[in-house]
Symmetry: C2
Subunit: 484 residues, 2 copies
């Protein structure tokens, strides 16, 4: 990111004006397009707003930009788009297409994190640098000779990785499968995308947990699916609800995250697992089992996946390295009947021509290395420790204002707020106090819930972050009582 040079002889505002002129001339901001606001630019460039105002004035005097009250500052058409030349109406193209934009809360969180990297991050659903096996992977990469040919990969994914996953799945998840039933994807995310795009049609009804990670994905709506809710209680979804939704709406697929569910941390009960499979086979209904968190189980073994108990072939199983190793590898996998794997691999060719071979090689090496098992052990202990820290901090800071159930695995703590506060205001206030979290409504729940990811922040940050959050919450409550 460019910043003005404070050592330069040129004034800051002149540097900014020059820089903007250059970017406009390069086409980053075509004629007629909106520039970032003065406030935003000032934040991005780390200067006072008045400096940006001066820079804009300079550009305006050269006829490069135009400001109209109320509609912001735009790149001048007469200067840059000399008639009769016309720039495509890019704004309209950007608004076209059937793909819905990400949720405003998610965009706000991302923006806040980009602009203030010092924020304490309870929002990003991923491991902290010290929990990821960065050194182990660096070591493996320096030892390995990457001399294999780097051509387009097999459409189902790198064969040695699929072979290693066969043993991995048998050993860790009790799933017996073959390499031809495995599709390697860019994280679980791409598995979900392929399923919604290629196996379902617009108008199809599907059932998802409520609350659920799936609600955070406009992807489901972009695919034109009709979403129906399966309420999650302490033991996960109720099998009878699936049957009821089938009767009423002919749902065509059920999406479940049975172990340490995102966001609630719930585990689907053992009895209910059997019943879910019974309902699925009774109705010939496919179940998508999304299982990224299982190997984080803090104590003992995680419950066996539905897929390992599925004698009928109802389950499409999805796993990922993101939450147990590194999300930046972008390695996930799906286990499915051959016809489905082949169909999805074929479609994926058209989307991106398959995954890069290198991260698949890295993942395969890590999986069969002597580092894998010790890494998992360490990860589990440290996640549990961080969970304890955040719970302790919440008990100390907000003893009467939040309630929650301590999760037995995963990365997230799901909190109910006792006072009623406005989701968006709480987030804004928390950001001002240096903390981000994800408002529960992102996951489809009513407001009054909060998801804290404790895996991303360092141990030191957890206490500080919860103090900041507590301050934000208290201020909102005070404000409200003033209004009462």
């Amino acid at each position: 990111m460019w910043k003005p040079d404070r050592q330069s002889k040129k004034t800051l505002y002149e540097q900014i004006a020059d820089h903007l002129e250059q970017r406009i001339s390069y086409g980053e901001f075509p004629p007629g397009s909106l520039l970032p606001s003065e406030r935003k630019l000032a934040e991005q460039l780390d200067v006072n707003r008045s400096t940006v105002i001066l820079a804009f004035a300079e550009l305006r005097s050269m006829g490069i930009i135009e400001s109209r009250t109320g509609s912001g500052t735009r790149v001048s058409k007469s200067k840059w788009g000399a008639t009769p030349k016309h720039t495509p109406n890019w704004r309209r193209y950007a608004e076209g297409g059937s793909f819905l934009p990400n949720l405003p809360f998610m965009r706000k969180i991302r923006e806040a994190l980009t602009q203030q990297p010092s924020l304490i991050d309870f929002a990003s659903g991923e491991l902290a640098a010290d929990l990821a096996p960065v050194d182990e992977i660096a070591k493996l990469m320096s030892e390995h000779k990457y001399t294999s040919y780097l051509g387009y990969d097999n459409p189902q994914g790198y064969i040695p990785l699929r072979q290693d996953l066969v043993s991995f799945l048998a050993r860790y998840r009790g799933i017996r499968t073959t390499e031809s039933s495995i599709l390697i994807t860019s994280g679980s995310q791409q598995s979900l995308y392929l399923i919604t795009q290629c196996l379902l049609s617009p108008g199809d009804a599907v059932a998802i947990e409520d609350p659920s990670y799936c609600y955070s994905l406009p992807m489901f709506q972009s695919a034109g699916l009709r979403l129906f809710r399966l309420p999650v209680d302490q033991h996960g979804v109720r099998p009878d609800d699936i049957r009821a939704l089938y009767k009423k709406h002919r749902i065509k697929m059920v999406f479940l995250n049975p172990n340490y569910q995102n966001p609630t941390g719930t585990v689907l009960g053992a009895e209910r697992r059997k019943q879910v499979l019974d309902v699925a086979s009774e109705l010939a209904l496919p179940i998508v089992e999304d299982e990224p968190f299982s190997l984080t189980a803090y104590e003992g073994n995680p419950p066996p996946p539905l897929k390992s108990m599925d004698t009928v072939g109802s389950v499409l199983y999805i796993g990922s390295f993101s939450k147990i190793a590194a999300s930046g590898l972008r390695i996930g996998w799906m286990v499915a009947p051959r016809s489905i794997v082949e169909r999805l691999a074929d479609a994926r060719q058209q989307m991106d021509f398959g995954l890069s071979v290198i991260p698949q090689q890295v993942a395969a090496q890590f999986l069969k290395s002597s580092h894998f098992e010790p890494h998992l052990d360490r990860l589990r202990i440290q996640l549990q420790y961080k969970r304890d820290l955040i719970i302790e901090a919440l008990r100390k800071e907000l003893p009467d204002l939040v309630t929650f159930t301590a999760p037995e695995g995963g990365l997230h703590l799901w909190c109910k707020l006792v006072p009623e506060v406005h989701d968006g205001k709480l987030l804004d206030e928390a950001i001002r106090k240096g903390v981000v979290f994800v408002p529960g409504s992102v996951y489809g729940s009513d407001s009054g819930f909060v998801r804290f990811t404790y895996a991303r922040a360092t141990a030191e940050e957890i206490g500080l972050g919860i103090s900041g959050f507590a301050e934000a919450l208290r201020e909102l409550i005070d404000e409200r009582s003033c209004l009462d």
Copy 2:
């Protein structure tokens, strides 16, 4: 891929029966699903068909599979899907969705290549192992310390790579841009996918070259676009045709591959480039400039891209490492106005959560390494050499039966066949002779054309492959004259 063990005491057919039973019990072939044919299995397992027949008989006698004449062999429902349990109708799911399967010719070619890896490959549009910088990349990877945190990447792609691309594009393509106008994608393919999915809506009309790589992508039809043709002559498309299509069909976008076009190898003429940009700005029409081959220019510099001459902001520019370094890196880039880049990055988050960081780091290292420039020089010379070899072979083997123009860059030779033969029959016959190519109809042209990729085969294979092709072609001609 599993193969029976010829040293084992168990007979081959028993091993195969056991193996199939296991795969069926794992869910790879759910109850009711079709097994591969006897012939196909025999090929895959490297055994006689009679061995597979025995294995099937064994499984049939155990009630595990059922064969009905004319409809192949299926996994038994009564055995595996004990009533009242029902497996989802996976076939129907696989046929659902709006995503069209890849073209039958492309699937046939891929299958042939998987089953007979010894085929001489004039079909895969990529570099041979000896043209790719495998050693250079292995060296860079062993030198580099991969110690950075492996979290979810920036949605627009790895920032240092985008910064390096800014200099790369200025130096090699005369394109001035900034890192915030660049989106890193999984090859050019994902750039094209994002554009068709997110900037266009079903029913929109677009113009593509005829013949064109785009016709080989059912992706355009999957997105519901109406495709209109811009015939390619010796100097590329005619600008007036764009205007005419706009008047008639209100096309909303034009897709061009101006340098060493796939499949024809044509270069868009200098005068026409100016006119294309004039038409685009006259009509406010976006041009997608897909430019994967430019840096392969055999002699001198390739023509400058439209993007470098675009003062209005009409062009979305796409580049890739696939054809100049390694397709298995899956690194491509788009240069576009900020609003478009941000929109596409946001949508991509929902599809795959962004690219793996590692190949982006590798690409950045390679780009700024001292290996890059010598690699390009060597690549150009060797491609030109292979082009000369294939032309020589064709002149020798089929002097009167094919016509073509020698391409000045790229990987492909586009041939017109003088005799009229059936596309599919020619491909089948060629495969029997040990060669694959891509029938021209895949690119939307009439039959009677063939695309030979000369970059993928070794120098030794080129002559042999063309002999095989010539034999196949001659046989088809003879067969036809027998019928006359």
